[in-house]
Symmetry: C2
Subunit: 256 residues, 2 copies
């Protein structure tokens, strides 16, 4: 079995991932979905350390095309009694295509939040999300995403809720990293003048375990200056407990 059906084998420091259509999105060309890069970084950090992801920051340097063989290598930067910091690099051939750093440690416990989860219908009452480009539909083979609602703070606030779960064999932490990459989904829908929103970097911070595989994404855009935008995703489990906080910086490529 190939990744992500089978996770990376624990104990190694370098891992390989064959980019295939079910891992790809894209409007004009098929490329590895950023969320899968985050999940691969999370899986590599966990396989190399034997610990659980707590925090991951990744920078996206080059498009990773369908068909590429991605090499994900890890370097321990600090190994402590409880926590380890790993540097992660992804290359295709000799080209560095993404980098990151990951803190791993004890598995997250049951967390408490300082605010309440959005109130939305359960996943089985929600419709699947739509995809802007036909090239992106391969993603549905491994990821089930439903439009959960539009609970907003104000009428014109760009915010939406999605249910998401992976159908691969990856760990909880990898699934959280994967589904956290949904700020571009919202940006593309509320910014009609924007053609694409390539992600410059993303961070995801895990705060608590999830009761089940369905995760609720509360997606918001914070601000933009016309050329760059910042947004975030608060991730909850199906019981309304906090799971993670994620942020992204995107470049805004305008329509001609």
């Amino acid at each position: 079995m190939s990744w992500p059906d089978a996770p990376f084998i624990p104990g190694g420091t370098t891992f390989e991932l064959q980019v295939e259509p079910r891992l790809c999105g894209g409007i004009e060309e098929r490329s590895l979905f950023g969320g899968w890069t985050l999940a691969a970084f999370a899986d590599a950090a966990q396989a190399a350390s034997g610990r659980h992801l707590r925090s991951l920051s990744a920078a996206f340097i080059e498009r990773i095309p369908d068909g590429a063989l991605l090499t994900v290598s890890t370097t321990a930067q600090r190994t402590g009694g409880q926590m380890s910091l790993l540097r992660v690099e992804a290359t295709t051939g000799d080209t560095l295509v993404a980098t990151g750093q990951a803190w791993v440690g004890p598995r997250a416990g049951t967390a408490q939040a300082t605010s309440a989860a959005p109130v939305v219908p359960p996943p089985d009452e929600c419709e699947p999300r739509s995809y802007a480009g036909v090239l992106t539909r391969g993603l549905t083979a491994l990821m089930d995403v439903r439009v959960a609602g539009v609970e907003r703070g104000s009428a014109d606030e760009p915010r939406t809720q999605l249910w998401a779960r992976l159908t691969s064999g990856l760990s909880f932490e990898c699934a959280v990293a994967m589904v956290s990459d949904h700020v571009p989904y919202l940006a593309m829908r509320v910014m009609p003048h924007v053609r694409t929103t390539p992600t410059l970097d993303a961070s995801v911070r895990i705060v608590g375990e999830a009761a089940a595989d369905w995760l609720l994404l509360d997606v918001r855009l914070d601000a933009d200056d016309g050329g760059y935008a910042v947004g975030r995703v608060s991730i909850w489990d199906a019981d309304g407990r906090p799971v993670a906080e994620a942020q992204q910086t995107m470049r805004l490529v305008l329509r001609a």
Copy 2:
């Protein structure tokens, strides 16, 4: 003049910083304040690239004691027409004490937010913040922080607003990175069972320029699982325009 009175000299790739009491905080021992590490990373990335910080993620590995000579080195990972990605490493002697990655590019323009800035009194009507430990008071030599208010979403939501400005000669982007490190301020005040809150990592994403040097910090704790906590700071300028979004992961060290 020593840093930060004089910024790092543009064109280099490696920079030195003498850790001194006015850069330090600490309850039991005096250490370089995390915000100054972020500012040094921002300044190094800008000096090495000639570009403006847009996004910075940093991991804090070891305490950096007062008196240490910090070496901050940068490596260009990608140099594009508009944006460059730099890796940043900080060492004291042979010890790696902090690492990070920074996207630099065009200076941020005037940004628009999707929500409104908190409504608080102006800085000159606000009292200076307090410091828990006498060792931390050196920080006031270069940083003016005022308690602006406690506009909350709900009565028990841990959230506070601070005005902050630097009185050093650093750039706008360095000041934003520096003052973004105020999640521990809030965590220490709302978690009386916690002795210290060492930051594991922090990210700051700049979205817009500021009209003046005073910055309004809207500080929130999102969630914790008893051992780790995540919080964030939304940064606004004095005219209510969005400047940056920051997030932190902290370890919670409990009182004996």
